[in-house]
Amino acid sequence: MTPLTPTALPRGGAASRAALPGKAALAAGLLVLALLPVMTGASNYMLGLLISALILAGIALAWALLGNLGGMVSFGHAAFFGVGGYASALLSGKLDLPVLLTVPAGGLIAAAASLAMLPALRLSGPYFALAILAYAQIFRILATEASWLTGGGAGLQGIPGLPSVFGLDLASRTGSYLLLVAIVTLCALAYAAVRRSPVGLALRAIAESEDATRVVGVNSILLKSMMLLLSAFIAGVFGALNAHIIGFLEPEYAFSGIWSLMPIIAAIFGGYRTVIGPIGGAVIIYLFDQVVAKGLIAVGHQIILGIVLVVMVLAAPNGLLGLIRAKGDRDAAA
């Protein structure tokens, strides 16, 4: 674990105010970058790839939130993703509720499902990771067995698509992309707000030494529970969005280990201790794999991604953002 250095703590007062124009410029730059594909008229294919990348980014953000704030390494975010997807698909498909309502409801139901995992919060490190992995398997089996509700292994087809809002068809590639940019941004802002707050400070202290923070009166279980709920909510929302965009769900797909594994890779690649890192990591990894690697080796391109990841982890254990920062520090020192 990286020690909690003063530079990692939130800055206050004059320093914070001085950083504001820089942060505003960064935010504006990122916003322009996000809108670039729409402004340049990117193809449906490119927008489709970006949509898949942003869904991955959302889960990576949820995973990093739990890992960074509270030190909980999860191998089971597929559970929240799957529960959110099924909940929203069933609420919209069977009860005819509006999709824009069922998406956050999917997130809430995923958060409620995470309550079942609260006993696992007593565990830490690999024990917590294994327990949450087991929970993900339980939810997958439940989705398969409750065939009267979920369609069982056959899954659900014809899930209602995203609606039109103010003349913008959210089911179109452009509409879905803009919606995902907005929701990823909202989730990142929520994460950043929690991270900056005293609660975030306490959670990062818990990640370093839970015993030490309890000694000074921090209710670590309560704070970790709150993060688990928030993380599950975010993963559930992206599971719901994915279900409405793809229009299909089956337990093997909705609870696939890919939804647990890829966000971890993306977050670590981008830098899981930052807010932007997991998002950037997910977008870069997904696009690199599907555009560059698949362009070079049509079948078996994953091997290129594997090599890049190994090199990246060896060269920059703090992720891409850590690498950029380290280079910036070196340049400044020179």
């Binding site: 193809s43 449906n44 294919y45 490119m46 489709g48 790839l49 898949s52 997958r140 089996i141 398969t144 065939s147 069982g152 292994g153 056959a154 899954g155 087809q157 014809g158 590639r173 994915n242 793809i246 229009g247 299909f248 089956e250 093997e252 797909y253 890919i258 599907q290 555009v291 560059v292 698949k294 362009g295 070079l296 049509a298 079948v299 078996g300 994953q302």
Partner: protein, 387 residues
């Protein structure tokens, strides 16, 4: 640094744009599971498509097709991306893929893009209930059900155990078989299993000790067949027949698992070594052998037929000058031809109501068609089990 960035951008740009069709040929797209859990079937489909295009181009004077296949990695989102990329690159139609769970979202995407989509790898009834205008398929659950029920009825079993995956197509097939066989007075016990399981001994133990059936029926996929038969070979239930649906009576499975496949029966179109009566089938078998140095099989035959039908419809629409203005879908609807799989026509839902399969038995590396009587190349050897 800048040079490196330019190099990466160039590779990406080339990957995105480099495969556009030239003005002289017609691009046909396909997405297939060339990697992932369904890769064995996807690769065989890929070979059949390529031979079909090669044969079509050889006999077509004016219209030449160019096939571009994208690996969908056995995942729905990547199949959807593949369809979008192929259409963006100018493909007039998409052939795909394998598994109803992947074909469902991919064909939805093709329909949204108003692009003709044909498949021979998705048998679920749900697919044709969606009312998509651009969706076509040449095989369906009903055909497999007819073939399997025909064989079982001829054996007059008192009881049958069905071991079925809970995935969409196997599950629907199993329920259809249960309904049809029960109506014939056969006692049917259905054992559904989670697609994630690999150890079938508990299920086969139930079949052996509780059901004691005359026949063990499998509605599943390749990897499941291997697991089920492996468990049965260990526990040896007293069944007279082990029978499965698609992708079981294929030479490749025998080559990989000879000790598990001998005597087992599955849906098939052609005997092996291949004996084909019609000229088109003979041409296909010859071209396939020349290209891949092996005989045609179940999957390659399916993909050959779907690709040939699509190619002919493309030529028809191109002749009429309506290829890119909706004429291809109309040309597909007028299809009415005999193929190496039997007759193919499309109804209003895009399904082929005339699809039916024969049943073939693995016999020491050969596949003998044993049912129906009209297609049989030999008698069923009983007990039809590998031990």
């Amino acid at each position: 640094m800048l040079r490196r960035a330019v190099a990466v951008a160039t590779i990406a740009f080339a990957a995105l744009c480099g495969n556009r069709a030239s003005a002289d040929d017609i691009l046909v797209g396909a997405h297939m599971p060339l990697t992932g859990s369904l890769a064995r079937s996807g690769q065989a489909f890929d070979e059949g498509m390529r031979v079909a295009v090669q044969m079509f181009n050889a006999r077509s004077g004016t219209h030449k097709l160019r096939l571009r296949v994208i690996d969908d990695e056995s995942t729905p989102a990547k199949a959807v991306s593949a369809v979008e990329k192929l259409v963006a690159d100018g493909a007039v139609a998409v052939i795909g893929g394998y598994g109803s769970n992947i074909v469902g979202p991919a064909s939805d995407a093709a329909n949204r893009l108003d692009t003709t989509y044909i498949t021979a790898g998705a048998a679920s009834d749900e697919l044709t209930k969606r009312g998509l205008k651009t969706f076509f398929r040449i095989n369906n659950n009903a055909g497999y059900q007819r073939g399997m029920v025909g064989l079982l009825k001829s054996l007059k079993p008192a009881s049958v155990s069905i071991v079925a995956s809970t995935k969409e197509s196997p599950s629907l097939l199993a329920k259809g078989l249960q309904r049809d066989l029960s109506a014939e007075g056969v006692k049917v016990t259905l054992h559904e299993f989670d697609p994630a399981i690999t150890d079938f001994k508990p299920i086969i133990n139930k079949v052996k000790l509780q059901d004691r059936p005359d026949a063990l029926v499998m509605a599943a996929y390749e990897n499941d067949y291997v697991g089920i038969i492996r468990a049965a070979r260990i526990l040896k239930p007293s069944v007279k027949l082990i029978v499965g649906a698609w992708a079981l009576a294929v030479p490749k499975l025998y080559q990989e698992f000879p000790d598990l496949m001998n005597n087992v029966v599955g849906a098939s179109f052609l005997p092996f070594p291949v004996e084909i009566e019609d000229e088109e089938g003979k041409g296909f078998a010859e071209a396939y052998r020349k290209t891949y140095d092996k005989d045609v099989d179940y999957h390659s035959t399916l993909s050959f037929v779907e690709t040939t039908i699509l190619a002919e419809a493309i030529a028809k629409a191109a002749e009429a000058g309506t290829l890119r203005t909706g004429g291809l879908t109309e040309a597909m609807r007028t299809t009415d031809r005999k193929t190496v799989l039997g007759p193919v026509q499309f109804d209003a839902t895009g399904d082929n109501p005339r699809f039916s399969v024969a049943m073939g038995q693995h016999r020491a590396g050969k596949i003998v068609l044993v049912s129906p009587r009209s297609a049989a190349t030999g008698d069923l050897v009983l007990p039809a089990r590998p031990w």
